[in-house]
Each structure stands twice: as structure tokens, then as C-alpha cells.
């Protein structure tokens, strides 16, 4: 199964947010999406997830236009965790994760024990099984994020899309969450804020700037001194350790 964008353009009102982006997600990889604020990462994520339709160009799942699959079918293949989705409703962790089964349920195919098992499995995958009966409002930010990921996993997706999943988490939970996501048996596309995290966890990195995809490749190919200066406007040194892992050392105050 493939996930692909071809020459995608997208407008918010009259403002063009995404400009001619082509991108193919390779099955099994962890693809990181980086770029400065307002570069179109979130818009691109919602196009990839099928929530938004491109105004021009095509978004393809299995080489077929996404909207032709229908919402339900799409949700059975793509799990999407957006930024900061919260609720004031009184519900338990298990109920929140159960929502992930929605694309498979209908009047004629009601909830079964298999759904129970899948929800339990998803909770175990994100290490939240012991909190299944806790109320949503009592969770910390990191726990909420893990529940969201469990909900997406309960959709049994081939592709897991995460929009800045580590926002508002402390450093331990940031690393823990990304480590967790990397070990899951799904293809992951994640918009990431922290470039060192991208360096540490991603197989490939895509760089967005002003709505244009300006780079796509392996970590050493993408994370270069020039890219950091041109796209992010920072002066930094990219170092590699003995295992070939990249590490970015930022320099203070930089004027163009």
C-alpha cells in the first residue's frame, strides 16, 4: 500500500499554503516532516491524512485518489493524531481509544469481542493498559498524547500520521513517545519541531519552507549547515558521532 502526493497545491482562502508538493511515503519508514512555523507542515499533514482535499494535484492512497476511497475506507488505512485535540466530555481512557474502532462499526456490524481485544492491544502498545479506566480529565499531557496514539492504532492503520506529537511534553516523555512510535509496526509520518529528534528517530526527512518542499532525503543528506541557515535562519554545526548519528549544535544569535 502506498501513500503519495503529486504536485499538490492548497489554498486557505486566497492565500496559497502548499505549493506544488510531491512526496511518496515509503512503506515501513519513519518519515519526519520539518520546517519553520507557518511553513505548511500542519496543512500538508491534513492533506496526507485525507482530511483536506488538495485544490490542485493529487493525493493518492494505493495509487488511487484518496477521496474516491471514501472516508470510512480511508480511516481504516490512515490513523491521524492532530495537534492538541482535547475534550470536556467525561469519558474514560478505554472509551477514548474505542473511538478508533468507529470506521469499522455500523448498525449491522456492532461492537464485538474482537474490538475489545484490539482496544486492549492498542492500550498495551502505548503502555497505558493500567490506566484504561482513568478519566480523560485526570491525565497529564503526555498520557493524553499516548491515548490519542492508541486511538489511532485501534484503527489498525497502515500509516500513522502524527502532527507535532511531542508538543507540551517533558524531554523524557518526548523521547519515550518517539521511541515508542518507532517500534510500532506501521509506517509513520510525523511533523517534528525538534531537529535533533528528527535526526535521532527518522529514516528520512522532508523539509518544508514557505509551502514548498525544499528537501527530501536521509538524515545526513538533509541536516546540513546550509539547510539550517537557509530554511531555519540559524547558525549551527552538524556533528556526527561514531555510529553515524547526526547531532545539531546551535550557535547563539545569528544575523542574516
Amino acid at each position: 500500500m502506498s501513500l503519495e502526493l503529486q504536485d499538490v497545491e492548497w489554498f486557505a482562502g486566497y492565500r496559497q499554503i502548499i505549493k506544488g508538493v510531491s512526496l511518496e511515503v515509503i512503506p515501513g519508514e519513519f518519515l519526519g516532516l520539518i520546517g519553520p512555523n507557518g511553513s505548511g507542515k500542519t496543512s500538508l499533514m491534513s492533506i496526507l491524512s485525507g482530511i483536506r482535499r488538495p485544490d490542485r494535484g493529487r493525493a493518492l492512497l494505493s495509487r488511487q485518489d484518496m477521496h474516491r476511497h471514501g472516508r470510512r475506507k480511508l480511516a481504516q488505512h490512515i490513523g491521524f493524531v492532530e495537534q492538541q485535540a482535547d475534550t470536556t466530555d467525561r469519558l474514560t481512557v478505554r472509551e477514548a481509544v474505542s473511538l478508533g474502532r468507529t470506521p469499522y462499526l455500523s448498525m449491522l456490524s456492532p461492537w464485538t469481542s474482537r474490538d475489545d481485544d484490539l482496544v486492549a492491544q492498542a492500550l498495551a502498545d502505548v503502555d497505558m493498559a493500567h490506566m484504561a479506566d482513568r478519566h480523560w480529565q485526570t491525565l497529564s499531557g503526555g498520557e493524553k498524547q499516548r491515548v490519542h496514539i492508541a486511538r489511532a492504532l485501534a484503527q489498525e492503520p497502515k500509516f500513522l500520521l502524527l502532527d507535532e506529537p511531542t508538543n507540551h511534553l517533558d524531554i523524557r516523555h518526548q523521547l519515550g513517545l518517539l521511541e515508542l512510535v518507532r517500534t510500532l509496526p506501521v509506517t509513520v509520518v510525523a511533523a517534528l519541531h525538534d531537529l535533533n529528534h528528527a535526526a535521532l528517530f527518522c529514516d528520512r526527512i522532508a523539509v518544508m519552507n514557505h509551502g514548498v518542499l525544499v528537501g527530501l532525503g536521509t538524515v545526513p543528506e538533509i541536516l546540513t549547515k546550509t539547510m539550517l541557515r537557509d530554511v531555519f535562519g540559524v547558525s549551527a554545526q552538524v556533528e556526527q558521532d561514531n555510529d553515524g548519528n547526526c547531532f545539531i549544535r546551535y550557535h547563539a544569535a545569528f544575523d542574516k
Binding site: S49, D86, D89, E95, T112, Q155
Partner: protein, 344 residues
């Protein structure tokens, strides 16, 4: 089909039967209480006569009061309470706003404009009844608000703001017509109607209200899982495979129609649509498969009781039911709110 083997299925059937029995008991009670108190036994005999041709002996006047006056009224009250509560649940779920209520979409404001146009301006030249005028006004206002919301953008905020703008405009129109053309008598009559009035309700109203609320409830129940999926907002619902736009159109449309029918029959009874959903959520949480029917039940029972109270609280006079729902409902709701905080 595995459906019938599922234990939850039979639990639900049992619960539905219990709810239905409770509702019937409340209706019988409402029919026996009033200015002249009639024993429940007589009420049951009257029902048996009308429903099964039982030929029991019942005083003709008692029978008339029960069947033509109190029972039709109680059934419409029940429909109204259920319909408004269900609309409230749906709007609160879709718009992700706990202050949303069925009148948010300009329906009661539009209904009042329609009603005064008929009663005071004489629109339709006597061919159009107050109810029909109110219904027309409600639909017109809803159409106006929907168009405005579509033009204003796609967010839930746009719908709420469009509703406020529409309500204000139609309320102003009503006030304008009343101050310009109405005499004191008419103005008082309109005010009574606006606060909710079940006095004129007869069986033909039942055959309008009952199908409306049953259809509305069934449509909403069909989309119960879709409503659940809105727990974390629109985008999250979309990513769970919900056709957001279609669900919006179908559910907001049906709850608006349900509300418009109720308002055109009894006027705009406040409080029910806003508060009953919260009360029901307090008991069963936010799963709509349970929340919708329970809200309908509580709404129905609440409005039946409110109607009884409105009839007996001031001897020789009927207090507008909207006044009762707020006077009784607000303290009850305050209790629930406080209690909920203790539970957490």
C-alpha cells in the same frame, strides 16, 4: 445475525421497555392531576375505552377532560421535552459547546416573528394558523442562519455566531412588529405564547409532534457513533472516517425541524434543551447510544411534570410552562452541578 445473541441487545430491550412503562405511568399521573382531581383508576378506564373499546363505565365529563384535554396535552409535553432534549444533545455534541441549545439556530426567534406576522399583521389573511406561521418563521430563520454560517466559514464558531446574529435580527423584527402594530391584549397574548403554552393543545397536535420526535430520535440514534466521534472535534471525527459535512447537514437539519415543530405547537419553552442533556450526561456519560434515549426520557418526564405544576401551582390560573421549567429546573440543575464536583 449475531445482533440478537449479544447480551447488550437484550439489556437494551429491557431498558427500553422499562423506560416506556415509566413514561406511560407519568402520562397517566398527569392525566389524573389537575384542577379537578380524577382517580388514576378512572384514567385507566378511560384509556381502556378509547384504546381497546373496553366499554367501562366512566363519567362523560371526566372522560372528556382526561382524553381530550389532559392526555393530549401530556403527550405533547412529553414529545416536546424529548425533542428539545435530543436537539440539545446533538447541537452540544456537534458544535463542541456546552452552552448550545436548540434555539441557538434562530428557531425560536424566527417562530416568534412568524407568529406575530400572522396574529398581528394578519399575514395570510386568516388562512394561516398561528402554528403554521410560527413554523414558517422558524424554518425561514434557520435557513437564514445556515446560509450565513456557510458564508462565514466552516468552523463551529461561525455557526454559533451566525445563530446569534439571526436570533437577534428576528427578535428585533418581532419587537418591531409588536410595538408598531399590537394592542395591549395582543402583546400580552404574544408574550404568553413566547413563554410556552400548552393550553390549546389537542389530538391533532399529537399526530404532528409524535412522528416528528420519533423520526428525529431515530435519525439521531442512527448517527450515535458519529456523534461519539466528535468527542475530540471535527478534524478528529473526519480522521475517524466520519463524513463531517453530511453528518452536520443531516443532524442539524433534523434537530432544527424537530425544534421548529415543537415551537410551532407550544411556543419556545426554554431551559429543557440546554439543561436536560447535561443532567443525562451526569448519569450515563457522553456515549450517545445511551445519552440520546436517556435525554429523551428525562426531557419527556421533566416537561410532563412541569406542565402538571404549571396547571396546579396557582389555583384557577395556568402559569406559562417556560416559567416553571426555569424555576424548577435551574435549582435542580445547580444541585447536579455541585454534586458532580463532589463526585470528582
Amino acid at each position: 445475525m449475531g445482533l440478537f445473541k449479544h447480551p447488550a441487545f437484550w439489556h437494551r430491550i429491557g431498558a427500553a421497555l422499562a423506560a416506556l412503562m415509566l413514561l406511560c405511568a407519568a402520562l397517566a399521573f398527569a392525566a389524573s392531576v389537575g384542577e379537578t382531581s380524577i382517580p388514576v383508576r378512572t384514567v385507566l378506564d378511560t384509556l381502556a375505552n378509547h384504546l381497546f373499546d373496553a366499554n367501562r363505565h366512566v363519567d362523560a365529563i371526566d372522560s372528556g377532560i382526561i382524553w381530550n384535554y389532559r392526555l393530549s396535552r401530556a403527550v405533547v409535553a412529553a414529545c416536546c421535552g424529548a425533542g428539545l432534549a435530543v436537539s440539545g444533545v446533538v447541537l452540544q455534541a456537534l458544535l463542541r459547546n456546552s452552552l448550545a441549545d436548540p434555539y441557538l439556530l434562530g428557531i425560536s426567534a424566527g417562530a416568534s416573528t412568524g407568529a406575530v406576522s400572522v396574529v398581528i399583521l394578519g399575514l395570510g389573511g386568516g388562512m394561516v394558523s398561528l402554528s403554521l406561521g410560527a413554523f414558517g418563521g422558524a424554518v425561514a430563520a434557520f435557513a437564514f442562519v445556515s446560509l450565513l454560517a456557510l458564508q462565514a466559514g466552516r468552523g463551529t464558531g461561525a455557526i454559533i455566531l451566525a445563530g446569534i446574529a439571526g436570533s437577534q435580527m428576528f427578535n428585533a423584527l418581532t419587537s418591531f412588529i409588536v410595538t408598531k402594530s399590537a394592542n395591549a391584549e395582543q402583546a400580552r397574548g404574544i408574550m404568553f405564547w413566547l413563554l410556552g403554552n400548552l393550553s390549546g393543545v389537542r389530538w391533532p397536535d399529537v399526530w404532528l409532534a409524535l412522528p416528528a420526535v420519533i423520526c428525529g430520535l431515530l435519525v439521531c440514534l442512527w448517527y450515535a457513533r458519529a456523534l461519539d466521534a466528535f468527542t475530540f472535534g471535527r478534524e478528529s471525527a473526519a480522521s475517524l472516517g466520519i463524513p463531517v459535512r453530511r453528518v452536520y447537514v443531516v443532524l442539524i437539519g433534523s434537530s432544527a425541524m424537530m425544534t421548529a415543530v415543537m415551537v410551532s405547537i407550544v411556543g419556545s419553552i426554554g431551559f429543557v434543551g440546554l439543561v436536560i442533556p447535561h443532567a443525562a450526561r451526569f448519569f450515563v456519560g457522553a456515549r450517545h447510544g445511551l445519552l440520546l434515549p436517556l435525554s429523551a426520557l428525562i426531557g419527556a418526564l421533566f416537561l410532563i411534570s412541569a406542565d402538571v405544576i404549571s396547571r396546579i401551582i396557582v389555583p384557577g390560573q395556568v402559569v406559562p410552562i417556560g416559567v416553571v421549567t426555569a424555576l424548577v429546573g435551574a435549582p435542580a440543575f445547580a444541585l447536579i452541578l455541585c454534586h458532580r464536583r463532589v463526585l470528582r
